[in-house]
Assembly symmetry: C2
Homo-oligomer: 135 residues x 2
DNA sequence: TATAGTACTATACTAAAGTATAGTGTATCT
DNA sequence: AGATACACTATACTTTAGTATAGTACTATA
């Protein structure tokens, strides 16, 4: 465990409160809600795969379909709509014939980067740990 | 958007690849899997609430029930089992009569701290943004 | 012998997330 | 007139997550 992490944990522990369980949950209510909000926005089978694609450029609907061969159109359009509602991606319609629609990560979408890095790092480390524990 | 964040985003963007969609998803396969692993471990209605409680001390099964009045015993014991399997929490049995069982966050569990902080901060900022956008 | 306390487990159900498959609207090309 | 391209939408279904409610195993105390 590196020094940076230790420090963060110690800082975090400084906020602990010594109260009965119900009061603790109440005390962290706002933070817990924030966590659930975030998780709702990025969880699910497809959200992060779509975000990963759009981190690498602007793609058309049909290109996204090619990148995710197992997604159904219903799911793809629903997920894109959700991401757009949360302003993480931008949808642009080209009035060519036939129409083309392209999607890209918005500047706001890129604010997810630190979170994406943490999710990735923790997951990679966890896999290593699980493997090591098996021996 | 602060300087730190900008820097992280620029670093992140340096890893972008210019390839067809299918190859991009393939290229980030390992990282996407890691993200899904992490999300699976901390997602759901109860996981973070339990973790939040256990960040603040050691609690008995019945105390956790009091902290989360709406959880069913089936869910509570299932979630605790999951968290224990992933070694995020430690279960200790006191052979008193009647038996007492207590749970606490493990040292490994505390490695989630940076992630918890990111999830919280992003969620709080997002709520602010959504509120501001409404005006 | 019956009741109570602790930490659960079992069974059946409902709700949410995701899948399968077919169809729509617009406009060009053959 | 019919086929094709693109970006979806509609309906029905299955799977997973979570809920409701009752019951178990152990032992002590009344």
């Amino acid at each position: 465990m590196d020094k940076e992490l230790r420090k963060k944990i110690e800082e975090f522990k400084a906020y602990r409160i010594n109260k009965p369980p119900l009061e603790i949950v109440e005390h962290y209510k706002k933070e817990l809600l924030a966590i659930q909000d975030t998780l709702e926005i990025i969880s699910g089978r497809w959200k992060m795969q779509i975000i990963a694609l759009l981190c690498n450029g602007e793609f058309r609907y049909s290109e996204l379909e090619k990148g995710l061969p197992k997604i159904t159109p219903r799911m793809l359009s629903k997920e894109l709509k959700d991401l757009e509602i949360n302003e993480l991606i931008e949808r642009k319609v080209y009035t060519t014939i036939p129409v083309k629609v392209s999607y890209k990560l918005s500047d706001y979408g890129y604010t997810l980067v630190p979170l994406i890095i943490e999710l990735t790092n923790w997951g990679l480390a966890h896999r290593k740990k699980i493997m090591k524990d098996k021996d």
